[in-house]
């Protein structure tokens, strides 16, 4: 109800919507003042507050927001799939001429799967494990279109072909666990499109997938939606995906819509400070690399206690008293709608997003004056902190009930050194061995071949007792801060326990004081010390995990997808924090990641892995200027358009297929099966890493 707005004055016109403006097509879906409230034990939660939008046939509308912004809930509300404790109200909710606020549950059920369909985030969970893919795909056909078994099967085969599943005749009778994540998501798309719906809602459909597979799925969805004239509502947190694939974008925060408009317009000329801040939080592949991300402080609001007026005001560096008043969505100079009271100032160029002064840097300033020093780089490589020589790791894998044992070569002939103050970024698709590399480096597992040297000392097969010194100097931060902290330990115990174990504090008072100092160093407050992990937000937990690593005064920290699970704005804070801590403590990082833009922001050197082997090692700037290995190039091309400088046009070079099974890797160069440059020779020779220019190595026969 808060956004009774400019929308009313322009009915039927999506702001900046190309489809609407040029063709005057009727929208498939019209939402006005949608409100969803959950009653919980802690009180009512306002999940969606006065959301209004339209979806047009053949158009991709992206709904962007961080966790708790209401983006998923608003779509579940449209589908009539809200949980029992939810109540919704809407001024208008019209789908294809049908008023959804008035239909019965029975009529709603007939619409679901037929008129409107939905695709969910995690394809590993979204298909029923005990029913064949074919039966799951034929179900809506039989249910809604009344097809008999034979007709439904024919149509299901057509659909599987349509979404690019090879060998559909065999695959149709298989179970979901026999499909890879990307293939399952294709099946979900086939189910969604099975009854020719007018509206397809996709809730983070590629978040759980590798970047190469993500590109395939997004291309497929965009193509099908344009061809079949389906209105696609695409929910995501990934601004790159929006920039590349969306026609229009709707930015949500704290349950409200803050900005809406044509995707390119909103990204080039954001008229809401939150959008601007969010864009500044995202590291990019193109344009000059910023020294720091100019992101947003704090974390997304608690939906139990939303502030009056603009939900973003508490985190906004330009908030005024007017921001506490009622929000109004108003048209802007560039044709978008913005709920920011300062939009006219932004439009006039008088106001630009600036992060709040980084207080962490000020805290750290006495320890190290000036900005970031140049990374140690190759000059120090002669005396690396840690060296891995020809590491091999083979796992024995028992298959099924047969008890047959197969060998998986997780790492093959991997050599790498990490210098002091250096950040080595490791990238590659899932299953490429990057996490195994991290575990071997930490000596959490012993390699089956090769050596690991720490400060020149061979620690490859040292007994655990003799590893205590090494353990102190090498720490790890994991991806999921929800499971990497013991839920039964208070923050201060999490921090002081390792100090006790290693005798780093002489008394418990000293340890407690040190814990408080660590909390402040990672941007938390002393009053976080007595709390339990579940009382902290995701970003705060990851800060605790970093503080725990710092407590050991380590020299090397392995960050295994350490920022992947965080919201965009929080991710930027943690990336900045890691950089600041490196400056302050001369840390080295092994940064394992799948997001090439984040790796660019933090790494000084980049390692690309494929099926257990390193295929390219290069200095960061060289690598991002021109990746050499065809796999590196394909990875780079698969990253959806980087945000502010987004290249919008131009389909990415799609890497066909999926990584081969590590149980049966191809002969010769493992990448040859997907490589556009492969020659018959590639099947015979395993390419060695060879120097290619200064400080750069590539393992490819086709590159000189």
């Amino acid at each position: 109800m808060e956004n009774n707005s400019a929308l009313a004055s322009a009915p039927g016109h999506a702001p900046g919507g190309p489809a609407a403006a040029s063709e005057l097509v009727a929208p498939v879906l019209r939402v006005r003042d949608l409100t969803v409230q959950f009653s919980t034990e802690e009180g009512p939660v306002q999940a969606v507050r006065g959301l209004s939008y339209e979806a047009y046939p053949g158009e991709v509308l992206a709904i962007v927001g961080e966790s708790g912004s209401g983006k998923s809930v608003s779509s579940l509300a449209v589908m009539g799939l809200l949980a029992r404790n939810a109540t919704m109200s809407a001024g208008t909710l019209v789908f294809d001429g049908i008023d959804l606020t008035r239909v019965s549950e029975r009529q709603m059920r007939d619409l679901r799967g037929r008129g409107m369909a939905m695709i969910f985030q995690d394809p590993m969970m979204a298909l029923n494990p005990v029913i064949t893919v074919g039966d799951q795909l034929m179900e809506p056909l039989r249910l809604h279109l009344g097809m008999d078994a034979r007709r439904a099967r024919e149509r299901a085969l057509e659909l599987l072909n349509l979404v690019g599943i090879p060998d559909a005749r065999t695959r149709i009778d298989q179970y979901p666990h026999q499909f890879s994540g990307g293939m399952r998501q294709r099946v979900m798309i086939a189910i969604g499109l099975s009854c020719n719906p007018k509206l397809l809602i996709a809730d983070e459909p590629t978040t759980a997938l590798d970047v190469t597979i993500q590109a395939q799925i997004l291309e497929l969805m965009q193509d099908l939606c344009k061809r079949l004239k389906v209105a696609l509502v695409f929910i995501t947190h990934n601004l790159g995906v929006v920039a590349q694939y969306a026609d229009r974008v709707l930015v949500m925060y704290g349950g409200s819509m803050l900005e809406q408009g044509a995707a390119q317009t909103v990204f080039k000329h954001p008229r809401h400070l939150y959008t601007a801040g969010l864009l500044a939080s995202v590291p990019t592949l193109e344009g000059p690399r910023k020294d720091r991300l100019e992101g947003i402080e704090g974390s997304p609001p608690n939906p139990l206690s939303l502030p009056p007026g603009c939900a973003f005001a508490p985190r906004c560096s330009h908030a005024q008293s007017a921001c506490a008043g009622q929000m109004q969505l108003l048209g802007t100079d560039v044709g978008s709608l913005s709920a920011c009271v300062r939009a006219p100032e932004i439009a006039a160029g008088a106001l630009r997003w600036m992060p709040r002064a980084g207080d962490l840097r000020r805290r750290l300033a006495p320890q190290r004056a000036g900005g970031r020093a140049a990374p140690a780089g190759p000059a120090d490589a002669a005396q690396p902190l840690l060296r891995m020589e020809s590491l091999e790791k083979t796992y024995a894998l028992k298959t099924g009930l047969f008890g047959r044992t197969l060998k998986v070569q997780a790492l093959r002939n991997v050599s790498l050194s990490i210098g002091r103050r250096e950040t080595v970024g490791v990238v590659g698709e899932s299953g490429c061995g990057k996490s195994t590399l991290g575990r071997l480096l930490l000596r959490l597992e012993e390699p089956t071949g090769g050596r690991v040297l720490f400060r020149g000392e061979d620690i490859t097969h040292k007994p655990d007792r003799a590893l205590r010194g090494f353990r102190r100097h090498t720490q790890v931060v994991f991806q999921d801060p929800y499971s990497s902290l013991n839920p039964r330990q208070r923050v201060q115990d999490i921090l002081t326990e390792p100090m006790r174990v290693h005798g780093l504090a002489s008394s418990s008072d000293e340890a407690a004081a040190e814990a408080v100092r660590l909390l402040e160093e990672v941007g938390l407050r002393p009053d976080h010390a007595p709390r339990y992990p579940h009382q902290l937000s995701g970003g705060q937990r990851q800060r605790v995990a970093i503080a725990r690593a710092l407590a050991m005064k380590p020299e090397l920290i392995v960050c295994d997808e350490a920022v992947s699970a965080l919201d965009v704005s929080v991710q930027a804070q943690v990336v900045n924090l890691l950089a600041d801590l490196q400056d302050a403590h001369d840390l080295s990082y092994l940064f394992i990641g799948h997001d090439l833009a984040v790796v660019r922001q933090i790494a000084t050197r980049v390692v690309v892995m494929y099926l257990g082997r390193i295929v390219e090692v290069a200095e960061r700037d060289d690598f991002y200027r021109e990746p050499l290995h065809p796999y590196s190039r394909a990875l780079m091309a698969a990253v959806p358009g980087a945000a502010p400088s987004g290249h919008g046009a131009g389909a990415p070079l799609l890497l066909a297929g999926e990584p081969p099974s590590p149980l049966a890797p191809p002969s010769g160069c493992a990448f040859r099966t997907r490589c556009p440059m492969a020659t018959p020779q590639c099947a015979e020779v395993v390419p060695e890493l060879r120097p290619a220019g200064a400080h750069r190595q590539v393992a490819c026969l086709r590159i000189d």
Partner: protein, 317 residues
Amino acid sequence: MLFFLLKRLGQFAFTLWCVATLIFFMLRVLPGDPVEFKYVAEGGAITAEQLQEQRARFGFDKPLSQQYFSWIAGLTRLELGKSIWSENPITQEIGGRLGITVQLALAALVVGLLLAIPLGVAAALARGTWLDQVIRVCTVTGQSVPSFWLAMLVQLALLSAFGWIPAMEAVAFREQPWEYLAQLIVPAVVVGWRLSSVNARLLRSSLIEVLGQDYVRTAHAKGVSPTRVVWRHSLANAMLPTVAVIGIEFAGLLGGLVVTEQVFNINGIGRLLIQAISYSDLALIQGLVMLFALIYVTVGFAVDVVQALLDPRIRVH
């Protein structure tokens, strides 16, 4: 597949050998001489000489190691020896009683499932409502009330309300089908209720978990009716943990209907075990224990098979 079966068979044999060894030596450690007990109980005085003679007849005069080896050797030929008390072959003693126990256990299993599935599903769907509460009271009672006590209550109730009680003498289905069913149904319901209580509660919690899964949301998004969501998209998944418990409970029924059989005067395996123990009939106890062990390992295997049928992910490819 052949390798898997052989391996499984090897595990079977090993388990059974362990049980055979344990029961043999445990019974030998117990005080008392079964042969002497038999003749003294029959009221006759027996001389030391006669006792020796009788003991020799049952092979108790041989060294323990020799007795053990002949026991194991007999097992490999599926021979359990003779009952000390009745002097009939033990296989024959068991064979005559096993049928009625298996029938009762199967009937209880059917009753248990017929109760457990609807109750569990209803409780899961109506969670938090009065219906859930009512079902919870029923199932908690079913778990906490001993079945023999309930059995006696039921018999008393039948007698006082209808003046009827199932026949005490066993009848065959072929001769008197109605009497047979009437005889079976009351103990089956009493035992089945208890069985259903455990499984209804288990099914309720696992179904609630399954109903929260993403693939159930997918089914709703396809426009599948709520009934079909439960029966087609959720029940098989929710039954997986239940099957394991049902298997163990069923194996328990085959060996553990001791008290129920006593109360309902059913001449099954349970009563045979009581008799064997009260007569100190070592050979018969050994034979019965081996039977129970065999039942447990077989049911364990059956549970694996059923789970593989329900869940393609554990199927052998």
